[in-house]
């Protein structure tokens, strides 16, 4: 039995872990990849969510709005330094792990249990350039508002 499982594992590894799977494909062809080892690539976003001894990180497709949660242990998660959010481009990671359409360990959630993780592109923080046009337009509106309020309260005959 044990040999059978090792064989099954190796076949999976051979068949499915060679090429990267698009996160969108994981959703669309979910049955095909269910309970199999997959390799995905995407941006780590949000936060490292603690779940007991595990960490859950959400990985977003680089080009589209498809996100999947991956479960990994704390030590593995330390490799990720930047998590994507406003003004932050998260680390781009490649993950190899077992994909579950209905995870038996996490009350049926769709997730990937990570076996291997690698940061392929470091994320970065952006600095904001304040738009001078917006500032000028705001000042113009401040003037308009002061004028109309003054007119309403002081000049307008009926209030």
């Amino acid at each position: 039995m044990k040999k059978f499982f090792i064989l099954y594992f190796l076949i999976n590894l051979f068949l499915f872990s060679e090429n990267l799977v698009n996160i969108k494909d994981l959703y669309q062809k979910s049955k095909r990849y269910d309970n199999k080892i997959v390799r995905i690539r995407g941006e780590a976003i949000g936060e490292k969510i603690r779940r007991g001894k595990e960490i859950c990180i959400n990985i977003k497709d680089e080009n589209e709005d498809y996100v999947i949660g991956v479960i990994l242990d704390k030590k593995m998660s330390e490799i990720i330094e930047n998590l994507g959010r406003y003004k932050v481009k998260g680390d781009i990671v490649e993950i190899e792990g077992i994909y579950y359409e209905n995870c038996p360990f996490h009350l049926g959630k769709r997730d990937i249990h990570v076996m291997k993780i690698e940061v392929v592109l470091k994320g970065e923080k952006y600095t904001e350039q304040i738009s001078i046009h917006k500032v000028i337009f705001s000042l113009f509106l401040v003037f308009c508002v002061i004028f109309v309020i003054y007119y309403y309260h002081k000049v307008s005959p009926i209030k």
Partner: protein, 498 residues
Amino acid sequence: MIPQFSRDDLKGILHYTGKLIILLGFLMLVPLFIGLIFKEWNASLDFVIVSLFSIFLGYSLITIFTEETELNWRQSMSITSLIWLIYMFIGAIPLFLSGHYNSYLDACFESMSAFATTGLILVKDLDHMAHCYNFWRHFMCFIGGQGIIVAGILIFFKGSSAFKIYVGEAREEKILPNVVQTAKFIWLVSISYMLIFTLFIGIINIIHGFSPPRAFFHAICIFMAGWDTAGFAVQSQNISYYHNPIIEIITLIIVLLGAINFGLHYVVWTGKFREIYRDDELKVFLISILILTFFAFWGYVKVTPEQNFLSNLRFVFYHIVSGHTGVGYTNSDSFFLKNWPEISLLFVIIAMGLGGCSCSTSGGIKMLRVLFIIKEIKKEIKIYTSPGSAIVFEKFHHIRDIQLADSHIKTSSVITILYIFTYLLGGIIGTTYGYPFLHSLFESTSACANVGLSVGITGPSMPNLLKIVYIMEMYMGRLEFMIFFVFISYLISLRSPE
């Protein structure tokens, strides 16, 4: 004959509309404050611009149209109809400026979805959105769910004007004798729950590794979208982002509280706890949730027998409650719903169509109307089975004992028929674009009943006409049709001098 608008009517309408636009301008200071906290300077400037623009526009209107008289019915209905559209257009400006929407139409869609507490979204790359824009999306849900007019009543409307405009916003029940007191109570309850749940969810988030500012930011957004049964979320994965069953349970509690009649909240707050067990509307609501969960679950496990019982129940129950209360939160994704068996989807559609309790933040037909129809059927059966001389009547308990009257049935039936007709019409329109009828009906019902669950039709790439159809459905569904029809008839009367 439809009474025509006079020049004075129009002056009064534009005057009060101006005041409500000023209110919107000041409300935009809240997301501006959030932007400053998170040091989002450019995004904050967008709120400065739109806030100032709203204040300028509002003041200009009240300066030009100075009439501040008692409102008549046609004015109050017109103000309500008009202000929801104006709020949509102005509320969409910061969203459009955020760069997360393909077009201004998409931003308007999201804005109406928020104000009408629907929860259907067209936003792109939500996970990288600035906090202040994201907060604005949720804050619009809060303003719309509480009622734009309910907010305005506290500041601008007094006496009979306040009552007329309160009724205009699809709230027939006065909780307290005075409408201003009713509005104050609605805000008191909401703010109290907001403080409790924000603190609670915030602490849970911190325990699970969120930084304190982000933890409380997520918490307040979850509360606002949940309590007002809107179903927006901070991240693109909605509630499934948290990977946390505790958050799912808390959101269920929040949405159930939000879907309960404010009148019932009031009697419970005043110490009459027994009313929870006695209120017939609440009983019908809870029984309906259980029955629909049972049938949806039955259909679901027939197709997926290999899956875990508890996890199946988790998803089915969550989606039925989400649909029935009108929140539209999901603990999964739209692909998940798309793959549901048709029979289970049908029961979710029924749950969405029925909606929550009357005088709550949810949409749809509403449980009080369903109760009236059930009671009337019961009464008819009694009439046929009783001797001819028997006097048959039906009573129900809703805050107090009430005898079922023909007026209850008449208004309930009209509104119910209008809802069902609109659900179907939207479904048929969706089908003309090539979507399967059941999916199309699902999306249409979700829009019109202000739910927000989706099987994947709603998205930035959907046809523009369908976006406009759903905007209209959300708008009319939120105002429960009649106010809108009355407004349209007044507008038509403007064109015909006879």
